[in-house]
């Protein structure tokens, strides 16, 4: 199982039955592939739809229906479409149960940076700042390191996406829960030691007595 699949399968277990969920572009999108059977989740895309599903087959593209990355998608029976103001009213107004977003850095305060690298990459924040600020629960999905460099830091060095503390960070090595006291190591990826996680992190981690292996969905 590759790193992305592992992260997506672990996050799939976090989605609440009946919930309204927004999955960011890229890795987070994979989460919808691994939902536990019987779970009733409505997926929102911030460009204006509740009821996202993958395009049923090639050739069925609707030129008026895409996800936030501009890729053609499908819609479930009972989908609802709306404008951008309404979409972000859902997000900012606390109606979105969970957002799953990629990350560049997360720090001991549980703060996330994921929208720019000054001087090098200025994609813009898109909906990320609203999502991190407004969703009831924010889950960060990212690899634990990038090109060998830690992404779990004492303090983010990149511009923050929001000052809000995210709720959960799931990487290919670990599940971390940001708390008022700091980053708590909750779970290890299968076969990964606590020592390896600590070594791959540049933040102080709170280590409970019991740090079980992740259970994965799907």
């Amino acid at each position: 199982m590759d790193a992305k699949e592992l992260i997506a399968r672990r996050i799939a277990r976090e989605l609440p039955d009946g919930g309204l969920v927004n999955l960011g572009i890229g890795l987070p999108t994979l989460v919808s592939q691994y939902l536990p059977p019987g779970l009733d989740i409505s997926f929102q895309t911030e460009n204006g739809l509740i009821g996202v599903e993958p395009l049923p087959e090639e050739g069925a593209e609707d030129e008026y229906l895409s996800d936030a990355g501009g890729r053609f998608i499908g819609a479930v029976p009972g989908a609802a479409s709306f404008d951008s103001c309404f979409s972000f009213a859902l997000i900012r107004g606390g109606h979105l149960d969970v957002t799953v977003l990629g990350g560049l850095q997360v720090d001991e305060q549980g703060q996330l940076a994921n929208w720019m690298i000054p001087g090098r990459m200025i994609p813009g924040m898109g909906g990320a700042m609203d999502l991190v600020t407004g969703a009831r629960r924010v889950i960060v999905a990212m690899t634990h390191t990038a090109r060998g460099e830690p992404k779990i830091l004492r303090r983010c060095t990149l511009p923050l996406t929001s000052v809000r503390r995210v709720d959960l960070v799931v990487t290919d090595l670990a599940v971390l829960a940001p708390t008022a006291r700091g980053l708590e190591l909750r779970e290890r990826a299968p076969g990964v030691s606590v020592e390896a996680i600590v070594a791959a992190s540049a933040a102080r981690l709170i280590l409970p007595a019991d740090i079980p292996e992740m259970r994965l969905a799907g």
Partner: protein, 221 residues
């Protein structure tokens, strides 16, 4: 009221240096005919307010390719490397604005409201130089309305009274922009008789639309 206008005439209303609200999200729901004609007419020095600049050769990306845009307010430009290059080279002044805030700022302008009090962006780069407001112990960021000389709108259907509807995620920023442009120019994939769009399905009442593109030789993408 006669509101139908030829593509060439519609684009000619827009002078160099004008500010434009342009609907669409990654090209989905963008006014492709108007964009193409602005490029063809060689418009320069435009200010564009839009969610994104799509990709090179697509949607608002065509205005970027043509170097028609001098100033940009958008939430995301990461999908268009040409935009990135022009910004990094200092040829294009870009203000990045959180997507939900951008939508509300446009809505505020069209709704006669003085600003948007949002939690989004507080304590981040986005808050630099902006006022904050403390209300009963909670801090809010004050973002200001964004109006423009023109709003360029892409609808799904327009009826003879210029009532507009939109389809699926092609709606996005179009309805708010139709309220915030001093002149509103719409194009529609279909023009239909009055009554085809029932009152409850109208998303932009015709009263907001100044000009509707004729279905003429320029139709289609």
């Amino acid at each position: 009221m006669h509101k139908m206008i030829a593509l060439e005439d519609a684009a000619a209303l827009i002078p160099d240096g004008a500010s434009l609200l342009i609907g669409g999200f990654m090209g989905i729901g963008s006014p492709h005919r108007l964009i193409g004609e602005l490029v063809r007419q060689g418009r320069r020095n435009l200010t564009v307010i839009a969610n994104d600049t799509a990709r090179p050769g697509v949607g608002i990306g065509r205005l970027i390719d043509a170097r028609a845009v001098a100033r940009l307010v958008a939430s995301h430009i990461g999908t268009n490397p040409v935009t990135q290059q022009q910004v990094i080279a200092g040829e294009l002044a870009a203000e990045l604005c959180p997507q939900g805030t951008l939508a509300e700022r446009i809505r505020a302008a069209g709704s006669g409201l003085g600003g948007v009090l949002t939690p989004t962006g507080l304590g981040t780069l986005v808050a630099a130089g902006k006022r904050t407001l403390d209300i009963d112990g909670t801090t809010w960021l004050l973002d200001l309305p964004i109006a423009a000389d023109f709003a360029l709108i892409a609808a799904h259907r327009a009826d003879y009274r210029c009532n507009l509807d939109y389809a699926m995620t092609a709606r996005n920023f179009n309805p708010m922009m139709a309220m915030a442009g001093r002149t509103v120019i719409a194009e529609a994939a279909e023009i239909v008789p009055v009554g085809v769009i029932p009152p409850d399905a109208v998303a932009t009442p015709g009263a907001l639309v100044d000009h509707l593109l004729r279905r003429d030789a320029g139709h289609g993408r």
